[in-house]
Symmetry: C2
Subunit: 243 residues, 2 copies
């Protein structure tokens, strides 16, 4: 049976997992995307366990999400995902989010690397194997770009990594980076505006008890550059556009 | 078509939603239970939207979870849920968690009240309507009990409620109470022991920016009483047994 190159995943928003506006939060969208990526890769022989057997692991390097609207209560969210291209060290995976009527309301782009689980260093991808699943399909949002440092321009809010922040590798969970960054914004912004684009570049791993500073700087109206730092060095950068 | 009184829900643990031990965390178990309760109630005409139409809302008052083991990666989790009894103001809903082989590895008990959404005060339940779904089935764990105050015995860790903590009513999300409490335990406890029983009693609502103190006191070996307080008054109490 030939498996389609396009993964299709269905979710339904849940009442107790919405924010105070009754909308799905960006980290929950991130969860949907990671779930889709994870199961889609798994069904094609490149899942977490397949990678583990080869002493490798996927590492999310960058993620950009653009949303025209955020799903409300008990709405169906359909996520399509596909591999756009595969390079020696990085692969691009795209996402389209549509509602039940088939209308797209968001897109996302992600960049993944594989690491050797012993050395934690990047390892070459199985370009040939992965390329079998590559497909052409429009993903009409900008690729993740360069984000300027902000840690020297802002004081930063202190945060210490806790048990609930850790993923299965014992590192700060990808979704928790998002959550802590988005908590920097005053609640009034959430009342008055919407996040149109959220972009994040993961640079290094956070570990238990690590003391972090969280930074946000409004570089132009509604556009924020952000960073999470440890001892003055960024472990991730992010950019958020409000509208 | 007669709907079964016993709800059955299937989940699969996801690699990026496990803790550093590769195990499902208590808050994620809580998510499974709330999902099951929510959809089960909905399919019987007592869901979030049905309640909203009557200007009422379900409020989780107490929850006790007992786990013999915690699901690992890519394991199926089957949650059975049923209404044990219905009183004038409170209803008891039970849960059984089994693995794919049908072996139970956990049970939970929850107590729910309904509030009037205008006054935020308890409102009488539709005892007759709810009783149609009541069923007998063993749930072999102790009911949620009284938890002693600990806030005067321990200093408490300060926490301020953030955007990502809020639920659709603008209050501290039930799952986030758990998460913040469990983060009080040192990582060594998670390395060496397992949580056998987690019990929580929700007392009042946390709101945005509210300054909280988080308390834990080891009352006997491996047994902790806990509280979340605002201005010295508990907004919830919890008890955790490690083994």
């Amino acid at each position: 049976m030939e498996k389609s190159k396009l993964g299709e995943f269905h979710f339904e928003t849940e009442p107790y997992l919405l924010d105070f506006r009754g909308r799905t939060m960006i980290p929950m969208i991130g969860n949907y995307l990671l779930h889709a990526a994870s199961v889609h890769a798994e069904s094609r022989g490149f899942g977490f366990l397949d990678m583990s057997e080869r002493h490798t692991a996927w590492v999310l390097s960058r993620l950009a999400i653009e949303m025209n609207e955020f799903p409300a209560m008990s709405e169906e969210v359909i996520v399509y995902t596909w591999v756009e291209d595969v390079g020696k060290l990085f692969t691009n995976r795209c996402f389209e989010l549509t509602n039940q009527a088939g209308t797209p309301f968001g897109y996302a782009r992600s960049i993944w690397a594989a690491i050797d689980t012993a050395t934690r260093r990047p390892t070459p991808l199985d370009v040939e194997g992965l390329n079998e699943y590559q497909m052409e399909r429009p993903c009409p949002i900008e690729k993740p770009g360069k984000i300027a440092p902000v840690e020297n321009k802002t004081e930063g809010q202190v945060y210490q990594i806790k048990y609930s922040d850790l993923d299965v590798n014992g590192h700060l969970n990808s979704i928790k980076y998002m959550e802590h960054l988005l908590d920097l914004f005053d609640i009034r912004l959430y009342r008055e505006k919407e996040i149109r684009r959220f972009e994040i570049a993961y640079q290094s791993e956070g570990t238990y008890g690590m003391s972090l500073t969280l930074h946000a700087d409004e570089v132009s109206p509604g556009k924020y550059d952000m960073a999470i730092c440890h001892e003055g060095k960024a472990i991730c950068r992010a950019a958020v556009t409000w509208q």
